[in-house]
Structures are given as structure tokens and as C-alpha cells.
Symmetry: C2
Subunit: 557 residues, 2 copies
């Protein structure tokens, strides 16, 4: 079970492990040699056009979680342990999860490749550059920005209004100083002074496009359909208008190929695409999920944060665009996180507190209810921690019986796959879901937002800023009002106020701005104070990351 007193760090466990050659992992997965493009001996890209097409794809399982807390939930950890458990039991299970973002790795968060004995490896490569996908996205994004400014500088034949360019640059670095900048200073030779900013790469539209593209031709069409801003007479301008789609596709060509690595248990794992779920759509790429389904009996995939963020977006965006049925779901929780939601301070989470657990478990209940609204029967997985008491575990079991939800404990952190076999069996017994979407985009953006706000966030009201109302009108004027919505909201609360823990209801959702993403095919709805470029903390993780004399990276968590 997860033990804060553990002696080995994740990176130490990962580096002590003897990895199998990626060619062997590919063979296990059923990937033909001609589809494998090695990146070193333990990573590869996979040309999915060369994969065999099965008669019937495997079952798809969505792993989501409760609202995250500083206590940590271990969603990826449970997912990875679960795939190892399924494979131990003879069920061919393949993982499809997101790539970590290097910005947060240098900040607070540490790595994002599982933990303990339930990790994907090589974890230090996965956390740093990996196969270069994020860098390719930034290169494409920033090349398009340069083409826009250059077009304006060189005569502006398209009549672009520089004050209405909505395209922002991006970078996979946590850098608050780049949120709001002025470019083009120093005279006419350096372009025109322009207010703009950078987002983190995970929040960029090209990340979303990578996540949703079905093949190279679709990638190119989506890149061309990006709206970069408006003309002086308020007509949208696209990347195609700038003749940029071919070059952007060339820059993104290799990034479109899913990345293959392995779990500590030796199972194949696709790790591809990495939009955050609080500021973007929050799932790994559609191509990776489809590859996992085509190669395995069970495909395990995740969506970032809780059911309200990545979960809702997976089902309403990715499953819709990819025509995916979600057969089952796992909601990962911890006893600690539910006590935190019940009002216990972080430093007191080690202490037994049944009253707080009883109060906080409303958060878990809400996530279970949310998943059920999509036609899926979720299994609750409690990721055990060293501090969990027998009484707390008994309480949870009784709660599950009363709430009538499938329930298992998992101890994958110390046991790996062996610690999730009961969970795996219970999951196998709950794979008969027929998943639906929650809203019909044809009814318009306001209706879509209203439905999510009511059904998932349990808000009683939606308020639009003046800017957002203007944005709504833009959407209608340009025929974009029927694209689905990606609501950008804090991950800590069902409301847009991160301090409202537990299961708030009756609150007001505040819409700040709506940005059409005509390449990705959805509208991004910004609420509350959610920022699309994080900052670094007072003592960044970068201060402790190092390389030892053997060339091994140390200090990753």
C-alpha cells in the first residue's frame, strides 16, 4: 500500500527494474515488426496503419477518479497495476494513457507515470521529452504564430486585424511571465507591437487536434481548419488561408504515431498525447486508444482528474468523435482524499477520522453518480495507503454495499499487479455498459453548458461575463454554436471555486470566455480563474533533479 515512509523513490524502483526490449513488448502486443519504429531500445512509435484489424475490438475501460486532493489519489498507479493484474490472469490488457508534461515535472508535481511497483518505464524518459511529441506541437504552434505575424508584417493581404489574432504561442514550461506579453517591440523592422501570450503546450489547440485526429489526412484537415483570428471586418481567418496546413502537418507527422512503452509487469502501454483535463479535453489520443482496443481484449484508458473533468470530456468529446463505446469504468479513490474532502487538514490525514470520511465520501458518491449517467456501471477502486485503518476500510466496504456500487481495494503500489487481481475480476464482471453522451451539441453551446453544469457540476445557475456573451454571439455568427464544449474548470471542486470541496450543489457557474477551436472541433469554455499557463512553486522540483555519474537521472518523484 502507498507508504509515505517508503525508502525507494519511484525513479529508483524504475531504474532498478530490468526492462524488456521494446521489440519483445511489441511482439507481446501483436504489433508486427514493420509497424515498430524504435526510439532507443525501450521506447518506440507505432505506425497504426500497419496494425492488423481485429474481427471485434477489445472492451474499453475508462479509469477516472475522485476530485484530486493534496493527499494524492494514484489514478494512473491503479490503472497500471490493474493492467498488470489482468495480464497475470490471462486477459490481454493494453494501456492507453497520456504523456506527462515536462513543465509540471520541473515544478511541483513530479512524474506522471504511476508509482511504486505500478509504473510505466522508462519513467525518466517518459517524463522528459519522451519521443518529442510535445516539442513538435510547440514547434507547429509557434511556426503558425510566426506565419501570422509575418503575413501582417509583409503587407497583410488577408486584412487580418492584429488586435483580433486569437492564436497564442505555447511552450512546455511552467512560466507565469509568459501569460501576458507584448511582442513586436523595437520598431517596424521587428513587426507590430501586439498583446498576446503563451499557454502551456498541454492547453494548445494542436495538442487537442493530435488527440482527436483519426489519420494523417484528418490531422491536416484539422490543422487547416484552425481559426487564428479575425479580419478587420470580423471574418474568421484560418491556417488554410495562410497556406500553413502542409507545413504544420509535416512538423506533426511523426508526433501522430502512438508511443509504445511497458509497465513494470511487462505489459504493453501506449502513452500518447497529453492535454490537461482542467484546461483542455484531458485524454490520450484517439489513435492510441483505438490501437489498444484493436490489439487487446481489454483496453484501459484514463481521463484526467475526476468524472467532472476528464471523465465528462472523454465521454462527450472523445467517445463521440471516435464513435467509441465505453464498456466499463473504474473510479479511483483513497480514504485519505475522502477525509480531506470531509474537512481534515493535510497534516492530519494520517489519523483515523470516521466522521470526516462519512462527510467526505459525498465526493466519491457524486463521481459514481456522474459515471452512471453515461450508461456505465463503475467499479470503485480504493488505492490503499499505509495510514488507512481497519475501521476506515470497514466503513468504506459498508458504504459501497449501502450505495450499491461494485467495490474493491487495490494495493498496487507495493505489490504491483498482484495487488489488483480482485479488482480486475470485479471489473471483468461489470463490462456490459452501453455508453451515451450527455448532451446534443446541435442544441447550441448554451444548452450544452447548461446540461453539464446541472447534471455533472450540480450548479443551479450559469452566469456569462460580458466577454463570454460577446463570444457566444461570435459562435452563432460563424456557425460554431453547435460544436461540443470543453469546459475549463478547477479540478478541486465540482464548482468553479476550488475551495468548495465535497459535493457542492446549487452554486453558480461563471463563464469568463469562450474560444472556438475549429481545428479541434469544440469550443473551450473558460470558467473561474483557471489559467492556461501554470507557474513554478517557491521551491521547484527542478532544484533537486540531477544526473548522476552513471548518466542516470535522479530526483524525479
Amino acid at each position: 500500500m502507498e507508504d509515505m515512509t517508503k525508502h525507494l523513490s519511484d525513479v529508483e524502483i524504475a531504474q532498478a527494474h530490468q526492462l524488456q526490449p521494446i521489440a519483445d513488448i511489441a511482439a507481446t502486443a501483436g504489433i508486427p515488426a514493420e509497424a515498430l519504429i524504435p526510439y532507443g531500445t525501450t521506447k518506440a512509435k507505432v505506425d497504426v496503419t500497419k496494425l492488423p484489424a481485429p474481427d471485434k475490438p477489445g472492451k474499453l475501460v475508462l479509469v477516472t477518479g475522485v476530485s484530486p486532493t493534496p493527499a494524492g489519489e494514484g489514478k494512473s498507479t491503479v490503472l497500471i497495476g490493474l493492467t498488470d493484474a489482468l495480464n497475470r490472469m490471462g486477459k490481454k490488457s493494453i494501456v492507453a494513457i497520456r504523456e506527462p508534461s515536462q513543465g509540471p515535472v520541473m515544478g511541483l508535481k513530479g512524474g506522471a507515470a504511476g508509482g511504486g511497483f505500478a509504473q510505466i518505464v522508462p519513467m525518466e524518459d517518459i517524463n522528459l521529452h519522451f519521443t518529442g511529441d510535445f516539442h513538435a506541437i510547440a514547434a507547429a504552434t509557434n511556426t503558425l504564430a510566426a506565419l501570422i505575424d509575418n503575413h501582417i508584417h509583409q503587407g497583410n493581404a488577408l486584412n487580418i486585424n492584429a488586435n483580433k489574432v486569437t492564436w497564442q504561442r505555447c511552450m512546455d514550461v511552467n512560466d507565469r511571465a509568459l501569460r501576458n506579453i507584448v511582442t513586436g517591440l523595437g520598431g517596424a523592422v521587428n513587426g507590430a507591437a501586439t498583446e498576446t501570450g503563451f499557454t502551456i503546450t498541454a492547453a494548445s489547440e494542436i495538442m487537442a487536434i493530435l488527440g482527436l485526429a483519426t489519420d494523417l489526412a484528418d490531422l491536416k484537415a484539422r490543422l487547416g481548419a484552425i481559426t487564428i483570428g479575425y479580419t478587420f471586418d470580423d471574418k474568421p481567418v484560418t491556417a488554410d488561408d495562410l497556406e500553413a496546413a502542409g507545413a504544420l502537418t509535416a512538423i506533426m507527422r511523426d508526433a501522430l504515431l502512438p508511443n509504445l512503452v511497458q509497465t513494470l509487469g511487462g505489459a504493453p502501454a501506449f502513452v500518447h498525447g497529453g492535454p490537461f483535463a482542467n484546461i483542455a479535453h484531458g485524454c490520450n489520443t484517439l489513435l492510441a486508444t483505438q490501437a489498444a482496443m484493436n490489439l487487446g481484449e481489454i483496453a484501459l484508458t484514463e481521463a484526467g482528474f475526476g468524472s467532472d473533468l476528464g471523465g465528462e470530456k472523454f465521454l462527450d468529446i472523445k467517445a463521440r468523435f471516435g464513435d467509441l463505446n465505453v464498456d466499463g469504468a473504474v473510479v479511483v479513490a483513497t480514504i485519505r482524499s475522502q477525509k480531506y474532502n470531509g474537512g481534515v487538514a493535510r497534516e492530519d490525514l494520517q489519523e483515523e477520522n470516521l466522521d470526516a470520511l462519512a462527510a467526505g465520501i459525498k465526493n466519491l458518491e457524486r463521481h459514481v453518480e456522474n459515471i452512471r449517467k453515461f450508461g456505465i456501471k463503475p467499479v470503485v477502486a480504493v488505492n490503499l495507503f499505509h495510514s488507512d485503518t481497519e475501521a476506515e476500510r470497514d466503513f468504506m466496504r459498508q458504504w459501497a454495499a449501502d450505495f450499491d456500487v461494485a467495490y474493491e481495494e487495490a494495493d498496487v503500489f507495493t505489490q504491483g499487479g498482484a495487488g489488483a487481481e480482485k479488482l480486475a475480476q470485479t471489473l471483468l464482471d461489470h463490462l456490459d455498459g452501453t455508453s451515451t453522451q450527455l448532451y446534443d451539441p446541435a442544441e447550441g453551446v448554451e444548452a450544452s453548458i447548461e446540461t453539464i453544469a446541472q447534471e455533472i457540476y450540480r450548479a443551479s445557475d450559469v452566469q456569462y461575463s460580458k466577454k463570454a456573451l460577446k463570444d457566444l454571439q461570435y459562435l452563432k455568427d460563424n456557425g460554431w454554436d453547435t460544436m461540443p464544449v470543453v469546459i475549463s474548470k478547477t479540478q478541486y471542486s465540482f464548482s468553479d471555486d476550488p475551495s468548495e470541496l465535497g459535493a457542492p450543489e446549487g452554486h453558480t457557474l461563471h463563464i469568463r470566455e469562450i474560444i472556438p477551436r475549429t481545428g479541434a472541433g469544440f469550443n473551450v469554455v473558460l470558467t473561474g480563474d483557471v489559467m492556461t499557463m501554470p507557474g513554478l512553486p517557491k521551491t521547484p522540483a527542478a532544484n533537486t533533479i540531477d544526473v548522476n555519474d552513471a548518466g542516470q537521472i535522479t530526483g524525479l518523484f
Copy 2:
């Protein structure tokens, strides 16, 4: 010979070619399998710590050129044809050249991997991302920038003067709008408003550090020694002060490994590091050059632009730091370029013009003289073009005899290695150089600049701006006055005025600014109007780059 009416583009020739597996190329080179880290099937990184150490390293040949013109010189093309010629003749020759920068690929310049039947392949990969080295450099550079701004934002314990932060971000995109920017706008939560800018990655200090690092420990020491700016009491602040060296080394670890590809003739080629020679030190990495010398009988390496830029820097910086002897040199010229230097307009270069050739050849003479000043016997290689006339070729031969310089024509563009065998033989007869450096850095920056200005640029005078004089004082105050100098100067002229073609002398060199690069170990001396961030042209190459239905990249030149 190079033919502007050619029917096949470089990318078409490259894509029609059947590449050998990179493992076979490595075996040809003598690289043991355990040192090879494949990136796909035709690219690899090489762990140089696992290479055998020879009793005696191979001979080192520096390929440089005349002052570049819009007519094109084909320096890389000749170098690649020459290695194929040497290998055809049974002399094991290995190439070490720079990686192309993606920014210019999207702009004017097209690819930088040779041309015609003298190319390195896969050219489209090499020109786009390659193995991610440039992106790693940008990630390290921009992470350091974020750590600086975050340190100031979080209380500024080091007392850094935000107005004296000299560290700039970088990006491998031609984007004039990023030359001068203001960051940190929008209130205190987004940091403090700061005037700063981006350079292109090729001009960054971390690119220079990658180029000069001798191993991982040296890389880390150099990264830590970077000066990022000054405190309020004018003391330098380093990356080590920010505890950033470990994280930057982790980000750069894989980038330090030289990249291996192949020529169309099937010869091994290291392509690693890519500083421009007009704004940086202009050579591939020391590690790649050493690997080529350790594995081959002849290592062919290049330095960007002419003898005045990359040539001088190779000899005074890289050869000094790496303790390299340069055994021979090739000065690549074209008849067209010498006519251009003699005053012929670009559109008239197809016409025979012996008078202009006689005038313009002063440029070639100057480059030959410059190389001789370093103790090396250069061979002049004329890269033949379709438009060169018999009379012009006769003139050149006679000139070489009169000027007493080894001379051969090469036709590698249409013939590949077969077109450079005579050049190869002549080169083999001139490999007895004992190379020297031109100046002693211990005499101070002003003396070093003076020597280069007089001996290489043939200036009669050096003028310093007020800013440069202040910078000089800083260098002295901080003990940096004895680091060698990298003079940033236009590539088109020996002077700092790009319109002064031919072989100007008696001019004044204008020093605008001097930037200490304490990580790289040299001072960058900015002259004239040289910019460290290029812009895009009116019709960028990006407009024609595309990906076809087979997934092949088209429209690269």
C-alpha cells in the same frame, strides 16, 4: 554539375534512394552495437563513451567556403560528395557536420543536408526535429528563464536585478516579433514586467555549450557556469546559484549524444549541434568531430559560411578547446559566386563574364590566405554549375596556378562521390598541416578582437559603442576578459557591412555589444546589425511544404 533546370528536387532524390539500415551503417563505421541507440531505422544516437579508442586518431579536414552569395556555393554538398569519393577510393572517411535549424527551413533557405546526389539522408527527418536536440536546447534555455523569473517572483533571495537579467529565451522558429518583448504583464500574480526577447535556438548559449562539452560532467559544469544576469550590486548570478544545473543537465542528457545518419553513398555521417556561424561559433559538436576522427582515417568537418566566420571560430575556439590539430582544409567556391562578388547581378550569373570573375576572385584569394594563416594548406574545390563556361573554368585553373594553391573541380551534385575523386586525391596530398590559433586570449578581449579584425577581416580600425565599452569594463571587473571571442558578423562581407563584397580592406569594425558566455567559455561580440533572431520572407518556404498521401514530406528544397 549543379543545374538550376534539374527535374528532380533534392527531397525527391533523397526519397527515391534506398537507405541502408542504420545498424549496418554503424557497423561500417566500427561502432559497436551496444553504443547504438536507434531513432527509427535510419537515424541513431551514439554513446561515444562506448566507442573503441584508436591508437592514433584519423586526420581532420576542415571544409570552409568563400563568402556566401545568393548564387549558392554548395559547401555541404561538396563535403558530402568528398566523403563518398574517399570511401570509394578505400579511405575510410566519416563526416561530422551541423544539424539544420528548422526555423530557416520554414523560411527561405530550404534544407541543409547537401544537394543532388551528394546528400545526407533521411533529409526530411534531418531538416525537421531530427532527434530532438534543438528542442532539448530550447527546453533547457526556457526552463532556466522560468526559474529566473520564478526566483524573482518568489522573494528574490539572490537579490537579482530584473533589469539586468541577460538570459534570453529561445525557439527554433524564425519569428521577428519575438526579438523584443515585454513579459510578466497583467499584474503581480503574473510576475514583474520585464523587457527581454527570444533568440533563435542556434544562437543560444546552451547550443554553444552542447557544441563544446567534452562529456556529461563537463556539460553540467558548463551549464552551471552560465551567467544569467547581475544582482542589484552588480555581482554576476549563475545557473548554479539558482540550483538549476542538475535539471538542465537532465534535460540535455540525450542531446549530448552525437547523431548518426548516412550519405547517399552509404558513408557514416555524424550530424550534431547547429550553431550559426554569423551569430554563434558555427561548428558541429566537439564530440561528433572526435568520434569521426576516432572511427575514420579521414574526418571531414565543416564550419559555417567562410573562413572569416566559421573557419576562424573553428580554429580559434573549437580546435583550442578540443586540442584538435587540423591537418587539411578545403575552400569551396563556385564560379558564379566569384562573378557575383565581382559585381554581376544575380539574374545575369548564367552569362560568361571573365572580367567579373577576375575581379570577384579576390574574395576566394582572401579566404585561401586566411586559412593559410592557421598553418594549413587549403585545397580549393570549385563546385561546378551547368552555366560555368570552358573559358571561365580555364581562367580558374590558371588563377590557381598563378596563386600557387591546390585546385580541383568537383561535380558531386549530379555524380555524387564519383565527381570528387580527383579532389579527394589532391586533398590526400595536402594533409600535413600543423594548425595554430591566431591570438592568445590571455592578452584580453580588445587584443583578440583587434587581431581578428586586422588579420582576417582586414579592418584598419575597431570602434566600440558606449554599450560595448561598458561591457568591456564588466568583462574586466569579473575576470572574463581572457575568454576567447566569438565575433558575430554578417556572412556576406569581410567587413560588418553586408554590401561590401569582394575583398574589402581598411574598413572599420563596429562593436555594438559584448555578451559574456561563461558557460560556453567565450565572449560574444556583436557587430553591425547582425540579428540573433531571423524573420520569415514574404513568401515563406512553409507555404509549399506538405505531406503527400503516402506520408512523405514534399516541398523541401
